[in-house]
């Protein structure tokens, strides 16, 4: 996702000289080419995220389209008040980019697990929040940033994620669910965000092998959120299952549950899979930490099978 972002940002910078990348002294080997190609559109603010966010606001007031860049929780939680007061209150065109969402920096420990970022960023007034699932979504979301006015949070994985979408999502529409596979009248609707589409896709494969009908959806847009799209899924399905590499509170699952709660007729039951709201002390890579919190296709498909009405078992 990281390389997809930088490639697309370079394209944006080429087209629009107001585009400016401000890094918090991170991006070794990743931003080098951008800095060389666009020296007047690149700035290293140093290890100082509060100042980076304030500077981004100041640059944006003066007409620049700013992208701040760092890893894990540094460009978000470390400077959340600057984002709220300086960027959001003034509706400035600043896109905050965090690399290493979820457990991407797993072995580095709790400080480097970005697991509540989407909840906190999407609570900020006027903040767009995009949490793509794979490099294709990451590139398409970055492209959208080039046309957005106002504050945006772009939450990326690290690098080398499996590509799930077969095509480039050239016509990606902001705030809409992306259909990946399966019929929308299937009894199970699987929706993924925050880099978890690979888990959801694997879960869908397991369920299909058990002859359980599944539709698969990607939902990189947490804010604005596709309430209507989710309600349609919930009206047609028996189970609406959300999978996200993010805390269970305040992310995709919470958004879906909120959307479904407004339905008056028969609707699907919601099952949410994510990270429990407690500090993870375990040490390990992304795959290992996912499995520690139950974010595996095996665990999710078993839970879904058990939860389905008996006629589908």
């Amino acid at each position: 996702m990281r390389d997809a972002f930088v490639a697309e940002l370079s394209h944006l910078a080429e087209q629009d000289p107001s585009v400016m990348l401000v890094t918090g002294d991170l991006g070794f080997g990743v931003l080098t080419d951008f800095a060389r190609r666009f020296p007047n559109q690149y700035l290293n603010a140093g290890v100082a995220e509060q100042n980076m966010a304030g500077i981004a606001a100041g640059l944006a007031i003066e007409g620049r389209r700013v992208f701040t860049y760092s890893i894990a929780n540094f460009p978000t939680l470390r400077c959340v008040e600057q984002l709220r007061n300086d960027v959001c209150y003034h509706r400035l065109s600043v896109t905050v980019v965090a690399v290493g969402g979820g457990f991407a920096y797993g072995p580095l420990g709790f400080s480097h697990h970005a697991t509540e970022d989407v909840a906190i960023m999407s609570a900020l007034p006027g903040m767009r929040v995009m949490a793509p699932n794979d490099p294709i979504e990451a590139r398409a979301c970055t492209r959208l940033c080039g046309s957005f006015d106002g504050p945006t949070y772009l939450r990326l994985g690290r690098n080398g994620e499996r590509r799930i979408h077969p095509e480039s999502l050239a016509s990606l529409q902001e705030g809409k669910l992306i259909h990946v596979a399966g019929s929308s009248d299937a009894p199970v609707a699987l929706v993924a965000a925050c880099g978890a589409l690979d888990i959801a896709a694997e879960t869908a494969d397991l369920l299909r092998r058990s002859a359980i009908g599944v539709s698969l959806w990607a939902c990189p847009f947490i804010a604005p959120f596709d309430h209507d799209g989710v309600r349609r899924l919930a009206s047609d399905a028996d189970l609406l299952v959300t999978v996200e590499e993010h805390a269970l509170i305040g992310g995709l699952g919470t958004r879906c549950a909120h959307a479904i709660a407004a339905l008056t007729g028969r609707h699907a039951r919601h099952l949410g899979f994510g990270i429990p709201p407690e500090p993870q002390h375990a040490v390990g890579d992304q795959h290992y930490l996912r499995s520690r919190v139950g974010l595996t296709a095996e665990r999710i498909s078993e839970t879904i099978s058990a939860a389905l009405p008996s006629m589908y078992r």
Binding site: N40, G54, A57, N85, D86, H90
Partner: protein
């Protein structure tokens, strides 16, 4: 005194009188903070900054950010006196439905560049503005007024480091150095001295002056040919101009009412007739 200083003196007095009335009617805090920086605001707007009240977003204007946003009444007063909006609007300060809140807000108020209220935000934003202006090759200046207590916020020192490193000529930080912060004196809370040395060590040009002397302020706030940001340490008195408010932590919070209101205005208006 030159004519500029006389204008600044009159403007400062009006800012003080407005602030007393606004914080009284609005039953709001921080009148002592406004009185402390009234002369700085008056000198900036009367003598130093290039602004066009009829064209608040004139691209070549100098920018001003009030980082000590709790003294917002002073910003509203100086802008109204300069003609950015009608003086009558000051009566709505802190009233239901008004645009003029207790801290500085940008929405619907011509002349305000940026909203503040949480300390430690103004300097980083001003730094970003100054960086962008310098990159465009323009000579507009960016002023930011900070309180001394506000310097406790680490975000300021990130910005001091950045602006010094990038030699942001055109950026001017002003410290309203009244030596009193929210609960006690600065020296009892988190001592700042040697303050000038700290700024010099961060690569800034330092100027010190009497923060109530308009001639000294005007000279200190003037443009600098050296390729570096400027910080003006303005030595001030909290509550300046109203004897019973001077040097007092109480008037960081208290809203003047009844006899206090009358006494404060009488003292200020007495000065105006002297």
């Amino acid at each position: 005194m030159g004519s500029e200083a006389i204008t600044a003196a009159k403007l400062a007095l009006r800012i003080r009188c407005h602030a007393i009335r606004m914080t009284s009617k609005g039953r709001s805090s921080h009148v002592g903070s406004v009185l402390s920086c009234a002369d700085i605001l008056a000198t900036l707007y009367a003598c130093v900054m290039r602004v066009r009240p009829a064209e608040p977003t004139w691209p070549k204007r100098d920018r001003f950010i009030m980082s000590k946003g709790h003294a917002g009444a002073g910003v509203y007063a100086v802008l109204a006196e300069m003609g950015f909006f009608p003086i009558e609007r000051l009566d709505t300060h802190c009233q239901n439905g008004s645009a003029l809140c207790g801290h500085v807000a940008v929405h619907g108020i011509p002349g305000v560049e940026f909203s503040t209220g949480s300390l430690g935000h103004g300097l980083p934003v001003a730094t970003g503005m100054a960086y962008a202006i310098k990159a465009r090759g323009e000579d507009c200046r960016t002023f930011v007024l900070l309180s001394d207590g506000e310097l406790d916020e680490g975000s300021n020192w990130e910005a001091f480091l950045f602006a010094g490193h990038h030699r942001l000529r055109g950026l001017c930080a002003v410290i309203d150095y009244n030596k009193i912060q929210s609960l006690a004196s600065v020296s009892e809370t988190l001592a700042l001295e040697p303050l000038a040395d700290k700024f010099r060590a961060f690569g800034w040009v330092v100027r010190e002056c009497d923060g109530h002397n308009h001639m000294e302020l005007s000279a200190a706030l003037g443009a600098e040919s050296i390729d570096a940001p400027i910080v003006v340490i303005a030595n001030t008195v909290k509550g300046r101009g109203v004897s019973f408010m001077e040097h007092s932590v109480l008037w960081h919070y208290r809203s003047p009412q009844g006899e206090e209101l009358a006494a404060a205005l009488a003292e200020l208006e007495g000065v105006s007739h002297a």
